[in-house]
Structure formats: C-alpha cells, structure tokens
C-alpha cells in the first residue's frame, strides 16, 4: 500500500511539475506547481515526516504561490506579450543547472539504494530518523545551526537587494 501511494504521489508530482513548465498560461503553470507541492507533501507523509509535509503546504502552497499568483495577476500578461518576449539564451547556466541536478539526484539515489527505498521501522530507529517537530528543531538548531544561520543571512541579503532594486532613489 505504501508503495502504491508512493507511486501515485510521485507520478502526480512529476506530471504536474512537467505540466507547470510546459503550460503557456502563467496562472495554469502556478496551479500545476501547487499540485506538485501536494504530491511532494504526500510523499513526505509516507516517510512519516509529518512536520515537513505540513510546512511544505504551509509555506510553499499557502504563502509563496499565493504571492506568485498575486504578481502574475497584477502583471496580467497577454499571450502575445509572452510569445514576443525575447528568450534569454544562457547555455552556460542551463548546463550548470543540469549537471548540478544530475549530481544531486545521483547522490540521493545512491543513498536510497544504501538505506533501502523504504527503510523498515528497525532500520529507521538505528538511523535516528524522526519526523517530529522536536527532532527537526533539535537538528536544525543543534547540528546544523551554522547552515541555518548562513541561510538566514542569504535570505536577508535577498530582501535587502529587493528593497534596493525597488527603491528608485536612495538618499
């Protein structure tokens, strides 16, 4: 049953991810992306990572995509405008992104093969994997606190950049 659900959620996520990059209509793209988040959240639930699943929906589907939708509607691009837009061709970045993606996917796959795709309860307890809010909080603010802080600074930098870009004049 777990495997069947995994296949259903995984297929949903993959299909809607594909549809979200191929749709012409930006609103349809955004909605397919929301469905993709649900597919991912379903898989997190199957891995008993309930906290991550809820946060996935809360942050991505509930807040970030609403913001995207707001911007898309505010711009209200017509189809002609979208098609006449010159497509920036940056082969270097394309190749770099592809290489990175393949590397990450390969590492994840190797890890999965090592651990077994669905580690049973005994294996999971030896791995000390626990999806509870407490476990995640402890590893986030304990083991990985440096990475957490660095991410925080990165986001702060992005916010400052956005403010400077939107403020035409800085005095």
């Amino acid at each position: 049953m777990t495997v069947a659900l995994f296949l259903i959620f995984g297929a949903t996520a993959l299909a809607s991810a594909l549809l979200s990059v191929t749709r012409k209509n930006p609103v349809a793209s955004a909605m397919w992306l929301v469905l993709m988040f649900f597919g991912l959240a379903g898989n997190y639930v199957l891995l008993e990572a309930y906290f991550v699943a809820a946060v996935q929906i809360l942050v991505y589907a509930g807040a970030i995509m609403v913001l995207f939708l707001f911007v898309i509607m505010l711009l209200d691009l017509r189809r002609e405008q979208l098609e006449s837009e010159p497509q920036p061709r940056l082969p270097f970045f394309g190749v770099a992104a592809a290489v990175l993606f393949i590397a990450v996917a390969a590492i994840a796959l190797l890890d999965a093969v090592d651990a077994g795709v669905f580690p049973d309860a005994a294996a999971r307890s030896t791995l000390e994997l626990d999806g509870s809010a407490k476990a995640i909080g402890e590893s986030l603010f304990g083991t990985w606190v440096l990475a957490f802080e660095v991410t925080g600074f990165l986001l702060l930098g992005a916010i400052l950049g956005a403010v400077i870009l939107t403020k035409r004049r800085l005095t």
Partner: protein, 417 residues
C-alpha cells in the same frame, strides 16, 4: 469465456491490493485493525460535514435576522417558524437557477474555484477536538479515544496549512471571471491573505510555546490544567481574532467583495449554485475560525471542570462558545465600518506583524525565565499607547473644530491633515 483459473489469477492481486488498502486505513490508534474503529471514524466525519453544512445554512438565516434585529426591522420570518426554513427555500432557488458560465471566462478554473473555497474550510475541522474522549474496546482492551475525526500530532500546523489554501478559490474565481471587478477582488484577496496569514501564524506560536505541543487536544488539556490562554496571551488572542476576520473576508475586512466599490468582488461573474458555494465557503470558514479561536485561546470544550459531567457536556460547552463567536461575526459587521484598503494592509504589516513578533520573543523569554508577569507587559503597553494616542487625537480635534465662522455646514474638522 475466461476459465475460472485465470479469474483467480487476476483476482488474487486485486484482492491483495484491496486488503492492503483496508489495512492501511483501518489501523486504530494502537495499530490494531478493527471494524468498529473505521465505522466510528466514518460516522464522525459524516456528522461533522453535515453539522458544518447545516450550521452554515443557519448562519445565513441568523445573519439576516440578527442584522434586522440590530436595525430595528423584522427580517425573513415567513418560511417556517421564525423564518427558520428560509435557508432551505434559498437553497431551492439556487439549485433551480440557470447556471450561467459567461463566454469570456476560463471554464476549468471558473468551475473549480468555488470548490477550492469550500473544501479547505471544511477539512480543517477534522482536527478540532469538539469534546473529550470516549472508551472504546480496541484490540481487546479499553482505550480512551478522542471524538475528533483525526488526532494529529501536528494539528496546529495542519490547520494553518489548510486554511491558507482557501484563498486560491477566491483568487482563481476572481481571475477566471475575467472582468475588472472580479479580478480586482481576486488580487485584493491574495494580498490580504498573505498579510494576515503571517500575523495569524505568529499569534499561534506563543500558544505552542506555552503548551509545548502542536496537538490541539493537548493544547486544550493544558488550558484545562492551568488557565485559558486568553488570560496569559490576550494580545495574541486579539490579533488571532482580527486575523480570522480578515481570513474569512468578513466586515470590517471584506475588501475582496466590497460591494460599494467592486460590485460583488471576486464572485461578480458567478451565478446559481457556484455562487452559493462561495457563500457557503465563507460561512463554513467562519464556523471553523470560531472553533479554532475557542480551541486555542478559550479552553476548547472545557469550562472550569463542568465538562467532567460527560462528553455531551463538553459538546454543549464547545457549541456555546462557538455560537457566541459566530454571533460576534454578525455583531461586528454592523458595528465597525469597512477599512480602506491601504489601512487594512498597513494594519497587517506595520502594526500586527511587529507586535506578534515581539510577543513571540517575550513569551519565549517568559518561559525561559519562568516569569509569568512578562506575558502582560506587551498587552498593557499596547492598551496604554492606544489610549494615549486616542487622547492626543481627541485634544487636537477639540482644537481644530472651533473656528469656522464663514462656512456654515462645512465643519469637516476631525480628519487628519
């Protein structure tokens, strides 16, 4: 004709899968598979859905009757006793109205938008503990089982995640309508929701900090043991209440459908049952919002020990609290005029967001130092500064209104310059 042997070969994996599905969904809290457990859950879910639907229909009636009462008129009183069957008559009217889908709309989005508004509002209720526990025989021994449909350990996060999805219905409905008023309503809805969801989430954080749990049942139990959280977190409770009004698009924050500016806002292009679904979504969201407020800040189904009389008493207490806040929704509607859009955004980002952030930090400090008086520092400061500001404004107004000798009837003092 297929031989019987082949049938068995085909049937075996199908039956195996069905057995798997049954196993997956029928595990009780202690992991045992029982038929009674599944049946009980299904019945509870059916009851919740129907109570929500009937309550939202009754809210339409209550809204009109209470509005009439507050404006000294009668309201609908012809259909049934006191007009109680009016929602049924309205429903019949909605059902038999022509379902117009305007030609200039995006058909798919136009059709699913009303559904997206109703469903999240309804499934949020699954994790709300509306009364205590009951004894059930699972796997040979008596165990206390809670009445709510799902006893999630991350109940608070689930609720915040799901309530945030309701805005898609409104935004998409406004967009799919493809007219300027409905688009404006949809855009307003998305901006408003994002602004108030932050305060909503941050107002819940102190609750989680104090109770040390994301489970709604445990939050209620903690309040029954110590004190209702509205007494230790009055500011968070107030901001949560206001944010619920904004999230459900009720006056004074009904900007997405402000009828004096936007015709009817996001549902301008809707008719018949699709329009009714938007309506229903709003009312179900009101019921869920009230239930949440009661659960998080007002002790849920407990009332100073009275709930120990039995599960029915808990249910009565919970219903009474929720009905009071439902009444308050209507009460506020006819008391406070609608905010201007920029005032609404300013209130969310400039007032509520910093206040809730400071509140979270102070609460964490209070817990770390084990000093309960810290809880009250911020609320008292806010009340003090509000009173101070009101006093200064009043003094200035008094000063301004006086000299207007040459312009009779234009005494427009009192506005800020």
């Amino acid at each position: 004709m297929i031989p019987l042997v082949d049938l068995a070969v085909i049937a075996a994996p199908v039956l195996g899968l069905l057995a798997d599905v049954w196993e997956f969904f029928s595990r009780g809290p202690d992991g045992a598979v029982t038929f009674g457990w599944v049946l009980g859950r299904i019945i509870v879910v059916l009851i919740i859905v129907h109570v929500l639907l009937i309550l939202s229909a009754l809210m339409v009636w209550a809204e009109r009757r209470v509005s009439a009462w507050m404006q000294d008129r009668l309201g609908p009183n012809r259909v049934g006793p006191e007009g109680l069957l009016q929602p049924l008559a309205d429903l019949g009217k909605f059902m038999f109205k022509e379902d117009v889908i305007p030609g200039h709309t995006n058909k798919l989005m136009y059709t699913i938008a009303p559904l997206i508004t109703v469903v999240p509002a309804m499934i949020t209720f699954a994790v709300i503990p509306f009364t205590g526990t009951f004894e059930m025989n699972t796997a040979g021994e008596e165990a206390a089982v809670s009445w709510q449909a799902a006893d999630l350990n991350i109940g608070v996060l689930y609720i915040l995640a799901i309530t945030g999805l309701g805005v898609y219905g409104i935004t998409l409905g406004g967009w799919a309508g493809n007219s300027k008023y409905s688009l404006l309503g949809g855009v307003r809805a998305s901006a408003q929701m994002i602004s108030y969801e932050l305060s909503l989430g941050l107002a819940v954080v102190p609750v989680v900090l104090i109770c040390g749990s994301l489970n709604l049942g445990e939050i209620v139990a903690h309040q029954a043991d110590s004190t209702w959280l509205v007494f230790s977190q009055p500011l968070a409770a107030f901001i949560f209440l206001v944010a619920i009004y904004a999230e459900t698009n009720r006056l004074p924050f009904d900007m997405p459908e402000a009828e004096t500016e936007l015709v009817a806002g996001y549902h301008t292009e809707y008719s018949s049952m699709k329009f009714a679904l938007f309506f229903m979504g709003e009312y179900v969201a009101m019921v869920t919002g009230s239930a949440l407020l009661v659960t998080l800040f007002l002790g849920g189904w407990t009332f100073f020990g009275l709930e120990q009389l039995g599960w029915w008493m808990g249910l009565l207490i919970f219903s009474a609290k929720v009905l009071f806040f439902l009444f308050a929704f209507i009460w506020v509607r006819w008391t406070i005029p609608r905010f201007r859009y920029d005032q609404l955004m300013k209130l969310g980002w400039v007032v509520f967001l910093p206040l809730t952030l400071v509140n979270v930090v102070l609460t964490a400090g209070a817990i770390a130092l084990d000093a309960n008086w810290i809880y009250w520092v911020l609320p008292l400061l806010v009340i003090g500064s509000a009173l101070g500001a009101a006093y200064i404004g009043w003094k200035q107004d008094e000063h301004k209104i006086k000299p207007l000798p040459d312009a009779p009837g234009v005494a427009g003092g009192g506005e800020e310059a």
